[in-house]
């Protein structure tokens, strides 16, 4: 199923990270696409900008940010958005994403993806801000479900219904982070398959995969390891329900060599299988 904007399935991408710059420039690896962390390239004109220009010439680029703070009750930062828009023009970014979260208030930035209470007030607030931001950027923004480590008592929506309603009201697209679904399901005790079954498929423009750190009492979204099997199984289900969607592997801590990261991203191909093919192969599909 294609998303409603006709944004393409770019295939299997990886995040553009500094440690891989020399390899990418010298080897020109056969990667489908790159995702950049927007803030890492907004205020630098040196080597990162030079590398980015070369990457953007050869590969499709998607921008992923962490400071839009779409859920904050502070005023929208139009200086930030202006720079974001300029970077998107420079890189010919296929789309711009950020998170359903807030990062700070009262003029501060915690640089963390802080959780929203899922209430009617939040829904109205975020919907309005998404509309304003999308108008400014002149494109739909794509919002990712964050990993969260607490839930507010006053929440009256579950996260998947909140996201679906937000998308409907605001017109935003969704970046479905399958690892985040799993992390939050562990931390909050919900069924991750119910989550992915409930997300409106025609809104999903991109998928994230990543490794995490299980602390026993909770899981942290550290992007520091291989993708675990439970997340691959969720990804398989997403594919069966939604079809091929641009898929990105995130690896941000203890980053291994380029080929290891790329190989992890390409594993996703193995999970893009239809139920009937699995039945033929004798593989078991999770009964959601």
């Amino acid at each position: 199923m294609a998303n409603r904007w006709g944004l393409p399935d770019l295939g299997f991408g990886i995040g553009l990270r500094t440690v891989h710059f020399p390899h990418i420039l010298s080897e020109r690896p056969n990667v489908d696409w790159f995702e950049i962390l927007s803030e890492n390239f907004m205020d630098t004109g040196g080597r990162p900008a030079h590398v980015l220009d070369q990457v953007a010439e050869r590969y499709p680029v998607v921008m992923h940010g962490v400071s839009m703070s779409v859920g904050s009750t502070d005023p929208i930062n139009f200086t930030y958005l202006k720079k974001l828009k300029e970077l998107a023009r420079r890189t010919n970014a296929r789309w711009i994403s950020d998170h359903l979260c807030w990062t700070g208030v009262s003029g501060l930035n915690t640089h963390d993806l802080l959780p929203m209470p899922y209430t009617d007030e939040s829904l109205r607030h975020v919907s309005e801000r998404v509309r304003v931001i999308s108008d400014f950027l002149e494109r739909p923004i794509i919002l990712e479900n964050p990993s969260t480590y607490l839930e507010f008592s006053e929440s009256t929506w579950n996260e998947w219904d909140f996201l679906a309603e937000l998308a409907e009201r605001s017109g935003c697209g969704l970046l479905l982070d399958v690892n985040n679904v799993y992390v939050s399901s562990f931390n909050h005790g919900f069924d991750p398959f119910q989550y992915v079954e409930s997300i409106p498929a025609d809104r999903v423009v991109q998928i994230h995969l990543a490794g995490h750190t299980n602390k026993g009492t909770h899981i942290l979204d550290t992007h520091s390891d291989h993708v675990v099997d439970e997340v691959w199984q969720l990804y398989r289900r997403v594919y069966q329900r939604m079809g091929g969607i641009a898929t990105l592997l995130e690896w941000d801590e203890a980053i291994p060599d380029f080929d290891t990261v790329h190989a992890e991203a390409l594993k996703a191909r193995n999970y893009r299988t239809a139920p009937e093919q699995e039945a033929r192969d004798g593989r078991v599909t999770h009964a959601a």
Binding site: E39, G45, L108, T110, F152
Partner: protein, 285 residues
């Protein structure tokens, strides 16, 4: 800063803005989470005895333990950002002492930007306010140089002028020349030769003498590498005047005020500066 439209009433759900101000106050507060919810900034939004009720417990964690996860990540993330910008300070102070300095700094100067790139801009000045830093004037000088390196690293590229640009200018017009440095360049006077210390750290060699020595440096980027060029006080005065927009004749006056340089020396400096690609344009006024 948005004012709270209505104060929180006991037993009622807080407004979104109150909840966010409360959570942020808890996250940035020092000490244990139990103390964080009692800080003035947090308690004025939500009374401390209602804090636990705002968060659902999980199967394994109590409400405040869940809040504490965000507190721990906040500190780690910001300290890590400073560690990236100040590797020399880490090497000199040691990791534990640097991390303690970073925590104090972040508490005094929390981020107000969408980017972490400039989080550490006030660290050199902050060092003098912290008790227990060994050789604080040396450490401040080291931090100042590392800060300049981050600024030079992030600067926009600019075109490069070659000495050919000057060759076509008649000698009678040299006094009116304006030489504009590249953008990825900063000038700094330091009380210690900390660039020698940083270079030793980068080679993995023991640092040279840490005794004070007035040092004039041009810090610049060339082909994406960072360099330090130590210069004499007169050469520094000459370059600084040019960087501030003075004509060559005026810049030479500035140079003579700090002891001057011979014609041969000046020619040698310019030969080196053009060789290092430190100018982006040469104009005749």
């Amino acid at each position: 800063m948005a004012a709270s439209p209505t104060p929180h009433k006991r037993g009622e759900s807080p407004r979104l803005s109150q909840l966010q101000r409360w959570m942020q106050a808890c996250i940035v507060a020092n000490g244990q989470v139990e103390a964080a919810i009692e800080t003035e900034a947090a308690a004025k939004e939500i009374p401390a005895n209602e804090a636990s009720g705002l968060i659902r417990p999980s199967r394994t964690l109590a409400p405040l333990e869940r809040l504490d996860i965000y507190r721990g990540m906040y500190e780690l993330r910001l300290v890590e950002a400073l560690r990236v910008d100040y590797p020399g300070l880490i090497q000199y102070l040691g990791e534990d002492r640097f991390d303690e300095l970073a925590r104090l700094y972040v508490s005094a100067h929390p981020s107000q930007s969408y980017t972490l790139n400039r989080l550490g801009d006030r660290l050199p000045n902050f060092i003098q306010q912290v008790d227990g830093i060994p050789r604080p004037r040396f450490v401040e000088a080291l931090a100042r140089l590392e800060l300049l390196e981050t600024l030079v690293f992030d600067e926009e590229e600019s075109p490069v002028a070659t000495s050919v640009s000057i060759a076509g200018v008649g000698q009678e017009n040299w006094g009116g020349l304006r030489l504009r440095p590249i953008r990825a360049l900063r000038l700094v006077r330091l009380d210690y030769p900390v660039h020698e210390v940083m270079q030793a750290f980068r080679r993995g060699a023991p640092p040279p003498s840490l005794r004070p020595r007035r040092t004039h440096l041009i810090v610049y980027r060339r082909e994406f590498g960072l360099f330090h060029l130590p210069v004499s006080a007169p050469a520094f005065a000459l370059f600084q005047a040019l960087a501030e927009g003075a004509m060559l004749e005026e810049a030479m006056h500035a140079m003579f005020e700090v002891g001057g340089g011979s014609q041969k020396q000046v020619f040698e400096w310019f030969r080196q500066w053009f060789g290092e690609k430190l100018f982006q344009s040469v104009e005749v006024s």
